[in-house]
Amino acid sequence: MADNETLGEQLRRQGISRRSFLKFCAATTSLMALPPTMVSAVAAALEKARRPSVIWLSFQECTGCTESLTRSHSPTLESLIFGAISLDYHHTLQACAGHFAEHLRTEVIDKHPGEYLVLVDGSIPTRDDGVYSTIAGMTNVQILEETAAQAAAVIAVGTCAAFGGLPHADPNPTGAVPVSDIITDKPIINVSGCPPIPTVITGVLAHYLTFGGIPELDELGRPLMFYGDSIHDRCYRRPFYDKGLFAKTFDDAGARDGWCLYELGCKGPTTHNACATVKWNEGTSFPIESGHPCLGCSEPDFWDAGSFYNPLSAPIGDSSDWAAPAIAAGAAAGAALGLYGRRHKADAEARREPLTARDLEDKS
């Protein structure tokens, strides 16, 4: 539980060296795309930061976001950030259960109104009064509304919380909606991705701790520092795209030579995320580097944007679904209109009175 200890005090108490703290600050600064001269400012700010309480709400989710976060935990510097916050409520990670766990949540709300952060993963079902996901007798909508009411800010972690994600995909049986559909009076930071990059989750928290506010967001509420560029813009395979060198199949020479995966359905050009720069698994690689096209998982409705393996320029859906009926309808309508025109013309011909010389004699 959060106390009044600053982050700097806590680090020193835990025996973390100044050197490793500064290393962390340098990494965070670079992650946030700030100039290196800002490292000391970031360090100073972080040192004075108070550990805020954090409530992590899990709704219609797969725990992939939590998995992603925990994969990065230990022993990297990101773990520091988890020491730097007070994670007071998290289904998967908390030890306690039942009423006591729920009590912890309400206690934070009561004790630190306007100061705690709410992190949400998963989408919120709204159909049939939200019965499709309940915790301790409360629907997700109720829990979210109650918890967010006194929060300083809400961070929607993962595409489900940010945009609805998989549960929201057609036909959306539970009426799943993103956090932003329920909470409209609090700042919301969307950290999208399926799952989001762990470093990006921690980076957003670090920014919040450092600057005490909401970072600059794009039109979809995502921090621009991580989501400002498209995968395509930062992709190391971009030169192949520019040269028109495309892998046609997953096992052709082009694929082996690392050519662009556009034709295999890569959504990199319209996907905004930091995969191509921050990468995954401690900077090891990202999907395109492993030879798979980008799915566009950090964008809304990526499940509904057609096959993952359809090129971006190809239509969503099977064109034979509408083309053949359209041709048939056109032929039927064309035949009808054409025959009507024919009859119209024949009528005019039948009505025509032959012209004679007498018609031409000027009566004037």
Binding site: E219, L220, F246, Y262, T270, A305, S313, A331, L337, G338
Partner: protein, 219 residues
């Protein structure tokens, strides 16, 4: 609606609606022309009609020297626009993928740098034709709303396509969405406008060539 949602709509329902309107509209227009029919010519032909008709379909693409000299801008800009438009439409790699998904056919594309130049040339030609339509007495006299509308819906896909290709003005996702939407506008306007000449010119040239051809005149 965010850029990506707009894009998904454009690539999905938008394209289906516009595609259906286009396909139905074009078939209806062509059927309405052809089903009107014409009377069998009873005069004794000097030559056949079919072959001269087909020849005219091709040869009318090239003006005679005198005609070219009398309206050079219309012909030069017309050529540049039509070729630029067709080449960018048919030989830009992402477009080929689109056409492949609809037709199942595939062919090699042109380098992006060339597509870029072709788009600029094509847009320039349309602008020249637009200005010429404003100032040339004949073309101004002939112009009606449909002519300006046709110019607009034709230039929009070129401009948005160029801007998307070069990551200009709007984020790529948004520009790509607007590009596809502008193409959909073109498809919807197409059957109800003079853009129909894209198909009906074949009939017009054939009739002209066939009528003259059976008299022994190659036009």
């Amino acid at each position: 609606m965010s850029g990506i949602e707009l894009l998904n709509w454009a690539r999905g329902p938008g394209l289906q609606i516009a595609g259906a309107v286009f396909v139905i509209g074009v078939i209806v227009r062509l059927a309405a022309i052809l089903l009107l029919g014409r009377k069998t010519d009873l005069s004794r032909p000097r030559e056949g009609a079919m072959w001269p008709g087909l020849r005219t379909v091709l040869t009318r693409s090239i003006p005679d020297a005198g005609t070219f000299r009398r309206s050079p801008l219309v012909f030069i800009a017309g050529y540049v626009f039509h070729l630029g438009f067709l080449l960018t439409l048919l030989f830009y790699a992402p477009h080929i993928l689109l056409l492949k998904s609809v037709t199942g056919l595939e062919w090699p594309g042109l380098p992006v740098s060339l597509i870029d130049v072709l788009a600029v040339l094509s847009i320039t030609a349309l602008v020249a034709l637009f200005i010429n339509r404003l100032i040339d007495p004949v073309r101004r006299h002939l112009s009606r709303c449909g002519d300006w509308l046709a110019l607009l819906v034709t230039v929009l896909p070129l401009v948005t396509g160029y801007l998307a290709l070069n990551r200009m003005l709007l984020p790529y996702t948004d520009m790509l969405a607007w590009h596809i939407l502008s193409v959909e506008l073109l498809l919807v306007v197409f059957p109800f406008s003079k853009l129909m000449h894209t198909f009906s010119f074949v009939l017009a040239r054939w009739y002209n060539g066939a009528i003259a051809g059976r008299k022994g005149v190659q036009v």
